[in-house]
Every structure is written in C-alpha cells, then in structure tokens.
C-alpha cells in the first residue's frame, strides 16, 4: 500500500469473503449467440451480394485506389488537416485563455469570436472565404483613409489552399477554445490560489501552472477534433479548392461517369487515415490519463492538491516521467485515507 503500487492492491480485495474460488454454474445467455449468428449471416450475405453487384465496379476501385491523382489528393487532405489543426489549436488556446481573463474587454472579444465562428456553418464560412477577394479586392497595410504603405491584391496573396486552411482553422479554433477552456476549468482552484499567493502574475499562473495541468483533459477531445477535421476537409470544395480527396474523386468520376467506385476509393482512404489517428489517439489518451487511476487512491490522503497529481509530469519539461519505486522507508504512506 505504498505510493504508486497502491493501485494494484484494491482495498476491496481485503474485505472479500474467502480466498476459495466460487464454483457455480454460469448463467447462460442463449439469445446472444442467436443474435451473433444472425448478424454474421446478414453481413456475409451483404458482402457476397456486394462482391457480385456490378454497380460497385470493384475492378475500378482497385484501379483508382492507388491512382496517382488520388494519392496526391490524399496527401493534400493530410496537409489541410495538419495546417488547420495546428493553427486552430494555437488560436484555441489563446481564445480560451482570453475567455477566462479577468479583463472584460479581452473576454468579450473571445466571446464574440466564438459567437460568430461557432454560430455559422463551416460550409457557409468556407464559401465566404472563397469570395473574400470580391469583398476585399486588395489587402492594404497602413493607416485608415490614407494611402496604404503596402498594398497587394487579395487574389494574388491568398490562393484557394490558403483560404481553405484559413476557413477551416478559424472555424475549428472556436471549438478548440471550448475544449481548452474546459481543460483549464478542470484544474483545481487551489492551484491558482497557491500560484497567486506566491506572487506569480496571472500570465505566469496560466502558462506555468494551469495550462500544463489541463493537458490531460484537453488531449482526448482534441484527438476527436483531428479526426473530425480530416473529414471536414471534404467541404473545402466550397472555397472552391478542388485538390483534396473527395473533390478530386468527384472530378474523376465526372469524367468516367462512374461515381460509385470512386466514392468507395475516397472512403477507403478516409478510413485508413482515421484508423491511424484512432490508434494514435488511443496511445495519447493512455499517456495522458496515466496516474488518473492512482489519482483516485491518492485523493483520499492527499486532498485536492495532491490528488490532481495523477497527471504526473505532463509537460515534464524534459523530465523523465519517473514513477518511483515504492519506498518503504517513509513514515507516512500515501495510501492511507486522510480523515481529519
């Protein structure tokens, strides 16, 4: 019952009746089996049927799956996802911190941003970004109502790829902001107090104390957002940007008059990427939820402050995540309950 090992010996085990394993006839669940068999049969029927249905045109699927245009489009989809997400995460953190700022002006700006970008459909936003050069024909840098110092044409400065990234990122930032805000709010209030009591400023408290601890809560939903973003890239056709996976497949099928196999090809690629992301997310979540288990056991003795340690060294600042071996030489064992 000492330190990190505490989780492996649940206290409930001690109160169990006897050590002898129970011998009893297991409860049977015959209907589970029936349903399972039924579902497998339906699935097999569907697969066999699909294999011989000409509309699916499997040879075409095979032909286009690794078509160079398609694989290039898949790469562009990845680029769109990565660029937009990176910008969205940075912007989201800034917005979340702004929303929690004591400064009412800053707070309102963040709220307004969220209101606009979360309140309108991303497809509409992307379309508007596509038309931005009609609204603002040139980008001028300078003072209002005076000859600008620098001026360039919007069309030349922003190509459709850039506009697609901007559109996706700004929309996503609104959602990221809420995720980050939830993370920041999940950190115990005592942490902020301790930091402030030490004379640390609000920004130091945020960056050094609150943000690092909120990562555990922020990471899993962010993984979700990445997967979601990968699929949302298919909407950039609204800009119109046409080199990503879905639009490219549609364009090819427009030439071949054979849309179904290309939709299957696109779906396979999307599924491939989301599968990779899901695996990645699984490991990230495991990494960041580490210690949450012993957070429960520690909570009783360490109180709120210590309890949150479950997150152990998230940012770690290059520190190896030491899970120290249980030490028995200490007088107080952290496994014991703390009733005052």
């Amino acid at each position: 019952m000492s330190g990190p090992a505490a989780g492996s010996t649940p206290p409930l085990g001690e109160t169990g009746p006897s050590s002898e394993p129970i011998k009893a006839i297991r409860l049977r669940h015959p209907w589970r089996m029936v349903f399972a068999v039924l579902l497998v049969l339906i699935f097999v029927f569907f697969v066999i049927d699909a294999a011989f249905r000409p509309a699916y045109d499997w040879p075409a699927v095979g032909k286009y799956l690794f078509d160079r245009r398609i694989s290039m489009a898949a790469l562009v989809t990845i680029e769109l996802t990565v660029f937009s997400m990176v910008i969205a995460i940075i912007l989201g953190v800034i917005l979340a911190v702004m929303r929690l700022s004591p400064n009412p002006v800053v707070k309102s700006v963040a709220w307004f941003y969220l209101w606009i970008f979360r309140g309108t459909p991303v497809y509409v936003q992307l379309t508007i970004w596509g038309l931005i050069s009609l609204i603002y024909t040139s980008i001028d840098i300078g003072l209002p109502f005076m000859t600008p110092w620098i001026s360039f044409s919007t069309n030349a400065a922003l190509n459709t790829f850039t506009l697609a990234v901007i559109g996706l990122a700004l929309n996503e930032a609104a959602y990221m902001a809420e995720i980050v805000r939830a993370g920041l709010l999940s950190v115990d209030k005592g942490q902020e107090e301790a930091s402030v009591a030490l004379g640390m400023s609000w920004s130091q408290t945020m960056t050094r104390v609150i943000l690092p601890q909120s990562m555990r809560v922020i990471i899993p939903p962010t993984g979700n957002e990445v997967i979601s973003m990968l699929k949302t890239t298919s909407l950039v056709t609204a800009v119109p940007f046409s080199l990503e996976l879905f639009t490219r497949s549609r364009d090819i099928s427009a030439e071949t008059f054979n849309p179904i196999p290309l939709l299957i090809v696109a779906s396979i690629w999307y599924l491939f990427f989301t599968s990779i992301l899901m695996v990645g997310q699984y490991f990230l979540e495991k990494r960041f939820s580490r210690g949450v288990g012993d957070r429960q056991t520690n909570k009783s003795d360490a109180g709120a402050g210590g309890g949150l340690t479950g997150a152990v060294p998230i940012v770690g600042a290059g520190q190896p995540t030491v899970v120290l071996p249980p030490t028995h030489d200490t007088p107080g064992t952290p496994g014991t309950g703390g009733t005052p």
Binding site: A194, V196, G199, M200, V209, A304, G306, G332, P334
Partner: protein, 265 residues
C-alpha cells in the same frame, strides 16, 4: 526580511499585521463583521473557532486573495490591496498586489503543491519566475529549505509520491523560498492523518523559534498552547475572545469560547 532575527519584536513600532474593522461579505452574507486585531513582529498568533466562523476568510484577506468589503488591513505598515494618496484609496493593479503577496507566505489546508513539478521544482518556481534569481542560486536555496523541513532526500519526488505530511512540508518550504516576512497557515494539518500532524507542527515550531511572524488557523490546541504567543477565538465573523493561549484555554471567559473548547479539548 526573512525573519531570522528572533528579537526584532519590541524594537519596531509598526505591527506586522494591523486589522481595523475588517469586514467581508459574500453577497448579502457577511462573513467577517469587523475584525480588529494586531500581530506584532515575531509573534505567533493562533486563530481558532468553529468552521464558518470566518478564520480562513480573514487569513485570505491578509494576502488579498479576498478583497475586503470594509475596514482596513495593513501588513508591515503597508495597506493591503490599496494605495492611499490625498486621503483617497486607489485600487491596486494586479502587478502591485502580486508584489505585496511575495512577502507573505501562505500554506493551505490542501497543500496545493503543483502536481506536475517535483518537490524541488515546486520550491524553485516562484523565486525563479517571480524574482528572476539565477537558477543555480535558487536551486541551492531550495535544497537547503527542503533539508530544513527534513525532505532533502525527497527533492526529486513528485507530490503524488509523497505522503500528506511530506507534501505539506514541501508547501512550507515553497512559501519560505520567497523569504516572506509573514507566514499564513490555513489549517495546515486538517487534511492530514493524525500520525502525520506532528511532523508538520514540528517544522512550524522551528519556524516560530526562528522568529517568523505567523498567523495560524488551526484546531491543534496543543500547538496553540505550546507555540503561540496569542490566541484569538472567532465565531460568526467576530473576535469573541483573545489573549495568552494558556490562559484562554484554561479559563475561557466567554460562553461561546467555553462551549467550543469543551468540544475540541
């Protein structure tokens, strides 16, 4: 500054803490109803009383974690949270308030150590970030402080791997790292297992002996009797009774004090 001079008490006129009619309301609920008290330099004052009596709130007012509704509070002759000029009070900028807090150490009931930092990093954080002192020097001081609270060998442990008593001692070291002139303890042993209380109280006794000015909200009457110079009994937001701990504890004058002490002693 660090309070290492044991006999600095009598020589200076201004008290370390001076509270005059300190009042604090949360909405319509008045938690503090005019607290007036004085803590001299080097004095150890214990605040006792039933929960909800406003002890913790008063303590938090002293380092401006709570803003007063009325009254005045000054530490070391300096008004807390406000600047006075031409007979008017000016609200302090957060930066100035932060500067005042540097000199006031606070220890919490729930320790509130930074869980993502080791014990050593916890102690080093504020001197590094707030005072901007060189890292090598800060680390040396931090190690010395951890040794002082008996945790030299736990420097590289994360709070999760320390017992409650050890965590609280790290928290004390963390507060001391800023070389405060006043230490506030908000029920420092209330969240601890009974067998861990002693190690924390020992560290606090040591501090008191070195002449640190301390205000301790506690239920440890033994500590109050042994270490404190004065004892203040609060109930329902007012100071009911105060005096020399041994006298108040042995012979409480007020009925409410008697009732409370009969339950805790």
């Amino acid at each position: 500054m660090s309070g290492t001079t044991a006999t600095g008490a009598a020589s200076t006129p201004a008290p370390m803490v001076l509270a005059e009619q300190v009042t604090k309301s949360f909405g319509s609920h008045e938690v503090l109803k005019g607290i007036t008290l004085e803590v001299k330099r080097g004095e150890v004052m214990c605040l006792v009383g039933p929960s909800g009596s406003g002890k913790s709130t008063f303590l938090r007012c002293i380092n401006h974690l709570e803003v007063l509704s009325a009254g005045r509070l000054s530490v070391d002759g300096e008004l807390i949270g406000y600047r006075e000029a031409n007979g008017k009070l000016y609200e302090m900028a957060p930066k100035e308030a932060a500067k005042q807090r540097r000199d006031i150490g606070m220890v919490f009931q729930r320790f509130n150590l930074f869980p993502h930092m080791t014990a050593l990093q916890n102690v080093m954080e504020a001197p590094l970030r707030v005072k901007g002192l060189p890292k090598a020097k800060v680390e040396q001081t931090a190690r010395d402080l951890l040794a002082r609270v008996g945790l030299a060998d736990r420097a590289d442990y994360y709070p999760a791997h320390l017992s409650g008593g050890q965590q609280q001692r790290v928290a004390i070291a963390r507060a001391l790292a800023m070389e405060p002139k006043l230490m506030l303890f908000d029920e420092p042993t209330s969240a601890l297992d009974p067998e861990l209380v002693g190690e924390v109280l020992d560290v606090m006794k040591g501090l008191a002996k070195e002449g640190m000015t301390m205000i301790v909200v506690t239920h440890e009457m033994g500590f109050a009797r042994e270490v404190a110079d004065s004892l203040v009994f609060m109930d329902a937001g007012v100071v009911v009774e105060s005096g020399i701990p041994s006298e108040v504890l042995a012979n409480p004058q007020h009925q409410r004090t008697q009732a409370f002490l009969s339950k805790v002693l």
